[in-house]
Symmetry: C2
């Protein structure tokens, strides 16, 4: 399993990375500002649009140019897009080189670094091409979050809140209520604890189902099926965390409607979402619903032709279920 | 582990494949002549030159066009090139779909189907990009070998002979001496037994080191480092098995020269190679030796910068070792 280390500042990174022999640092022009770049690095343009084969191709070419071997180390340094691509490239270079990840966004700290999902977007579908390839180490530096744009910070919070619902206890839920102001002020020690609690939840699910084959890990997709389709419909102008938060609103609505989700659990969950500014007000108009449905159908989590949604039966009790088109319409309409 | 089934004729294939629900058959225009193609198939041009990202891209696009899900089945039907690409595509489609392989060449029956190596060529380096992804089932139909061109049949024999040296006992070696004529006449039952004995050897090595991390599985590369570099130098005009057979001659020569390989083992091995028409006479001229060395250095099996060769200490006793440039030169020169 992946080792997670917390570093108190970016300055500690250089000495830690020096311990690795032959490396290639993969980053983008945003994240690269946070660190002194080593000479064996590749800096890609930032953004989800760049998450495609051509970028992976550039990483692999650079690795080859540097004569990297199977025991060389790919170091992903950046947000989820960079980490997913660096991880994918590492997983296929000579059928698998070594991999270390340094997430620099809240979303990637709590979402992209653990569990080994790698990939890139293909024909407009997020992460359609990918592998399972856990990093040998993840280095968390909460320091790097200080300069993170507000929208990206919020995007990460969407996933943290999701983990609060999926947790077997209410510890993270309570923590998020009690420390709301310190979190929004990005106090390093509070963020560290929040990230730790959030990763604990994620680890609970992925260790029980590393390759998403038993329907356990799939619970981490709470809000994702509704949310991805919105992101896809709006051409990725909705951030991942916002999409997931919106999707959770819809999943609670569908769950209550179908008698799966207890009303008091749903209302407490909705309160936490709203405390963090995720209102879920956006709705899918009738004339765009067919396009929305098509986006859901092409969601990669479908199995044997049917798309499964994660609904909640209560705290830490996810359940996977297909939904009728009419139930989806009810959940996402005004 | 992969299940291996032997079918007595291609006609049995249709009913067997019908048991799988949603499939994509990946084949090339040579192999496709052997079977009634299902409608959900993709036929690629044949040949090693096609073993590149663009072909994988076409397979993935077709899978997407057919709305395949993670539990759909990619069926590789053809020689090693097709099987490696179908396997790679299957391993990355939605982070891993199901995979069944039907090899139609001797080389792919004994070499490419077991052990889960997938991949494609990249910047002129064979299989530089790939994954480990064992098929759930391999269907062997010796029937398909009847129309195989002589050169391709010989190419497969090169790997079979290699397995005779790597085997812990001399069973396969003796079988190849005793049944030479029946093998060359492609008698189905004799080929079946030869393939079975050959796969037993391969399985012995791969089950002890599935991801080639312990230096055990690497023994299967006997002849490959010398041979791949020759293939690379000659622009892939040398067949894989011929390259490997030539490489084994060189490995025995280097081994004897360095006192690693007993002379009587080497001479018995060389006799078997010669019985099957692999003479190893070709040599690397002085003025092309630097290019040959460069091809060796870029061999993907190098680790931490040094390329390791497989030498033999006797029957079933491979050893991995780096070689000095001068020792390589002695082995491959006239």
């Amino acid at each position: 399993m992946t080792d997670v280390y917390a570093l108190s500042s970016v300055d500690e990174l250089g000495p830690v990375l020096k311990d690795y022999d032959r490396t290639l640092m993969v980053t983008d022009s945003n994240a690269s500002k946070l660190v002194d770049l080593p000479s064996s690095s590749i800096v890609l343009p930032p953004g989800e649009c760049e998450k495609r084969w051509e970028s992976v191709d550039r990483i692999l070419s650079r690795a080859l140019e540097l004569s990297l071997a199977r025991d060389s180390v790919f170091i992903g340094f950046g947000g989820g897009v960079i980490l997913d691509m660096a991880s994918f490239a590492s997983s296929v270079y000579m059928r698998g080189a070594r991999l270390v990840l340094v997430p620099t966004t809240l979303l990637s700290m709590v979402d992209a670094t653990l569990g080994g999902k790698t990939g890139f977007d293909y024909h407009g579908i997020k992460n359609l091409v990918g592998t399972f390839y856990p990093a040998e180490a993840v280095l968390i530096v909460p320091d790097t979050l200080r300069t993170l744009p507000e929208s990206e910070f919020r995007s990460g919070l969407g996933e943290v809140v999701k983990h609060a619902f999926l947790s077997k206890d209410r510890k993270l839920h309570e923590f998020l209520i009690e420390n709301h102001d310190a979190i929004m002020a990005r106090k390093s020690d509070v963020l560290s604890e929040m990230i730790r609690l959030s990763l604990e939840v994620k680890i609970w699910y992925i260790t029980r189902d590393p390759e998403e084959k038993k329907g356990i890990r799939s619970a981490l997709n709470l809000g994702h099926t509704f949310g991805h389709a919105l992101e896809s419909l709006r051409g990725f102008s909705v951030s991942h965390g916002e999409g997931v938060a919106w999707g959770m609103h819809k999943a609670f609505r569908a769950g209550v409607e179908l008698g799966v989700t207890p009303e008091d659990f749903a209302s407490s969950a909705v309160s936490l979402l709203e405390l963090y500014g995720f209102d879920g007000d956006e709705s899918i108009a009738d004339d765009e619903f067919s396009r929305y449905l098509a986006a859901i159908r092409s969601d990669k989590k479908k199995s044997g032709g049917s798309v499964k949604f994660v609904l909640m039966e209560g705290q830490g009790l996810p359940v996977l279920t297909p939904l009728a088109d009419e139930d989806i319409r009810k959940a996402v309409s005004c």
